[in-house]
Structures are given as C-alpha cells and as structure tokens.
Symmetry: C2
Subunit: 286 residues, 2 copies
C-alpha cells in the first residue's frame, strides 16, 4: 500500500463566511480533504487539524468538533493530532489527511486516454448559487437559498465512489474550482483535449429557471462542488454505472476525451459555446 495525502488551508472571509454554522464548517473542513482522497481512490486512514482562532470560544469549538468528528467517524478517519493557536485576525483551519491506496493503483490526473468517456458524479451548480446568494452577487431569494445551501455547507465527499473506480476509471479529480477548470487540470496533465455537451450536464434541480448566464456560470464554472470528474474507457461504461450504483451516487456522462487539445463545450444545437466560464481564481487581478 502507498500513503496518499492531501492538505487544505481554509481562511475566514475567503473560503467561508464569518457567520457560518460552526458544525457545518467542521464538516466541510474535513469533507474537502476526504474529497481529495476520493479523487485518488484512497481509503481514509487518519487526519490532523490545525486551528488558528481569533479568540477561544468553547461553544463554537464544541460545535465545530461535533461536525468534524461526525464525518471523521462516518469515514473511519480518526483525528490523530493537531495544533491550536491564536490568530491575529482571521480564523484559519488547516487539515491534512492520510489515506491508503494499493501501490500503482491510485487514480491520477495524468491518465486520461483519447476516446475515454468523461463522467461527473452527483449534480452541479447548487453550491455556487448558494455562495452567490449569501455573498449578495445574486438577488435575495430565500427559497432558492434554502434549496442550495446544503450543497455549499455540507458537501458529501465521494469516497466510496472513488474506491469503486479503482481499476475502472483512468483519470479523476474532485471539482473544487469548477468543472471547466478542474477538468482542465486532467487535460493538461494527460496532454489531451475534451468535448463536452452542455445539455448533458447534471444540473442541480433547484437551479432550473435561473437566467441562462447564471446557470451556465454555476454549472461549468462554479466551485465548491466536491463531486468527482473522471474518465474511463467507453468499454467500461457498464462498470462505471455499477460502481456508482454500489456507492449510491448518480453519475452522468458529459463528454469524451479528444486527441485535439483544448476544451470544447457544445450547446443543444451542436455549436461550440464561445466563452467558457472561469473557475475560482485564488489570486484575481484586481
């Protein structure tokens, strides 16, 4: 077995709102790392947590710990160490996770093959819409927020699916910065291209009826998704569906890998979209 590892640093005001439910924050802090293991097909083994807090607040900490440990227990991923300290301004959360994967069997970014089908688990777009509602970028809509907020705050890492895709899928990644951007990492690492069908995308049901531009941004460019995007040979189509069924997760074929580099997204009429939404930019030029 090899050890797979992943680390994430979450900062108040950048990755979460200051008033987020601490139980949800505890859950998500671990979920984003479990999602990275899922994308490698690794089995979670344990994790460490670093917390920098502007002040010590016991009820906040208890709720954070509750959300964190509930997910850790569900995945057999005990917290084995950590560091708690005081921050100057921002709450900062660092999680590093360890997983086990059979040597040379891990799912990788650089393993996509020409002709592979491209798949996405779950649905797309809800977390992005919830984020934009909370951030005031979309007009207030309580019903829409209620229908999308869980996707943003309580993502379900696809660990069982990742394990089931070992030996079935070629390349995989989890969608943290948006489908276009994260699939782009697979394409450049594998030196291939992709053709996607916008109409095939598994849009979160709550999003139907949104303005087309908002919807496309959310589905193709929206981050914080924590679904898996993966590629598998066309003759593994049934095996992919079987692995997804066993993991209890829907998967949708959204396109295929091409020899020609670049990414083309076709609309319902077969015409390429002229401009693809951008994903999350960690260092935007202001």
């Amino acid at each position: 077995m090899h050890i797979a590892t992943s680390t994430d640093l979450l900062i108040e005001g950048r990755h979460f709102f200051s008033d987020v439910d601490p139980r949800a924050l505890g859950h998500k802090s671990l979920a984003v790392n479990l999602s990275d293991l899922a994308a490698m097909g690794a089995r979670p083994v344990g994790c460490v947590l670093g917390l920098a807090l502007p002040q010590a607040n016991e009820s906040w900490l208890a709720a954070f710990a509750q959300g964190f440990h509930a997910l850790a227990d569900a995945h057999g991923c005990p917290l084995i160490g950590g560091d708690t300290t005081r921050s100057s301004h921002d709450l900062a959360i660092s999680v590093t996770i360890f997983g086990a994967v059979a040597a040379d069997r891990a799912l990788r970014r650089d393993a996509a093959q020409v002709g592979d089908e491209i798949w996405v688990s779950g649905t797309l777009g809800a977390a992005d819409v919830a984020y934009r509602l909370l951030d005031g970028q979309l007009p207030a809509d309580a019903a829409l927020l209620a229908a999308t907020r869980r996707a943003l705050e309580w993502p379900e890492p696809r660990v069982a699916l990742g394990l089931g895709l070992i030996g079935v899928a070629h390349a995989a990644i989890d969608i943290s910065d948006g489908l276009v951007q994260d699939l782009g990492h697979i394409l450049s690492a594998s030196r291939v291209g992709a053709q996607l069908h916008y109409d095939a995308m598994p849009v979160a049901p709550a999003l139907h009826g949104l303005p087309p531009a908002t919807l496309m941004q959310a589905v193709l460019g929206g981050g914080d998704v924590y679904e898996l995007c993966f590629t598998a040979a066309a003759d593994q189509h049934e095996q992919v569906l079987g692995a997804a069924a066993r993991a209890g997760v829907a998967v949708t074929r959204v396109g295929h890998i091409t020899q020609a580099p670049g990414m083309v997204v076709l609309d319902a009429d077969g015409h390429p979209l002229s401009a693809l939404p951008r994903g999350f930019d960690h260092f935007p030029v202001s």
Copy 2:
C-alpha cells in the same frame, strides 16, 4: 515501521513578525515540524505545505521557498504537496510532516521513569531574548540582538539526536513553549515529578550579564527553543553523551525525575525557586 506525523499552523503577528526575512521564515516553518519528529525519534520522510497569502508576491515566495527547500533537502524531507490560497488579513503557514519510526520504538511523553536524569540539548534562552528585543519588551540592544537573533529565526531541529536517542532515552519533547511548560507535559503524561538545578542550565553565552529576572524568564520560560528535553536512566549516562557526540550536539543534565509530583527548581544554595516563569500562553486572559 510506523508513520509519525506532526502539524503546525504559524500565523503572522502571533508566531512571526510581518517583516521577518522570508528565507528564515521558510526555514523555521519546516524546522518546527522537524523538531517534533526529532522529539519522537522519527526519520523525516516528506511534508506538505499550506500557504495563505494576503497577496501574491513572487520575490517573497521565492525567498520563502529557498529557505524551506534548503532545510528539506538537508533532512531528505521532500515537499510532496500543498495548497496555496489567498488570506483575508494574515499570512498563515501550515506544515504537516511525516516521519518513519520503528514500531513501538518512538520516544514518547509518557515514558519518564522515577530516577531518570533530565537532559536538555543545546542552549536555552537566546530565542526568547531576541523575541523580546524585537517586540520592544526589552530595551534596544543591537549587539545582544545580533547575538541572539539566529536562535529565534534559524532554529536547528535536533533530528540526528532524536534518532540517536532511540533505545537510550525514555521520554522526550521539544521545547517550543518553554522548558518548564514542555517538561511539565512529560511529567503529567508520565505521572511523575522533577527536581531541576537552575545553575546547571545551559544558558546561551550571549545572555550572560542580563538582569537575573530577565535571564530566568528566558531560560526556564522562554519558548521557540526547538532543543530537545529528554529523560534517560542514570545508567545510560554515557550512552546519552555518546549519542549527542555522534549527532554533534551538546547535551546537559539539568535534573532528575522524582516520584513526588510537581516541579522544583533549586537555586545555587539548594533552595527552591518560589515562582517559576510561565511559558508561552496561546490564549492569555487579557
């Protein structure tokens, strides 16, 4: 072999000054984690780095990386992954390190035995004095700062010593929050006490001539030391000295473990000091 791991979260304004040399900061970010491995007697294997930056600054990053990688290379501890993101206010650095140690051979905090000699590597107090000079808590003294600053900014993790103490020492810890506080962790975990001799302490040479109260605070309570404090049976005295010589580090016997709980520090006349300095308090009551 078992995997040993350690994680630290360093926050601007709490753990380092905003204008610190980024090369030194890169060194120290890894050094404090290597020091944790040293205290377990583990051999470094690899590390991951999370960086949250208020803005992207390429020359700063290049210098930080240079300091980090130079130490990583020196210890055969490659950077195997990471996460870079933008912070709201503070620069935050998270490092998680992995080490290998033979199963059931790791040095532990709970293994001190009554009668053990208590040892400290290197010298004590310089980092604390440098910190207080830079923070304005001590009157400006350019010569004293020049003589102590390296201890604060370029600590040398005692990895070789930790490896050499496997099978020789009983308990070990690295001194990050001050000798009294960190040795206190060994005492409570091992359910024993300690008697120390203040006159035996290996005071950093640059500190001679400081006011007695300042000196005692620095030596007994000063943090950021990253020397090892460890205990070993008296009949291992020569083996301890041999391991230290092979590691190229001075070690000093500063006291012994007692059955009676608590910590007593005797002065030159054999009288207990009435009040022991406090170590670093992560959440002081303001």
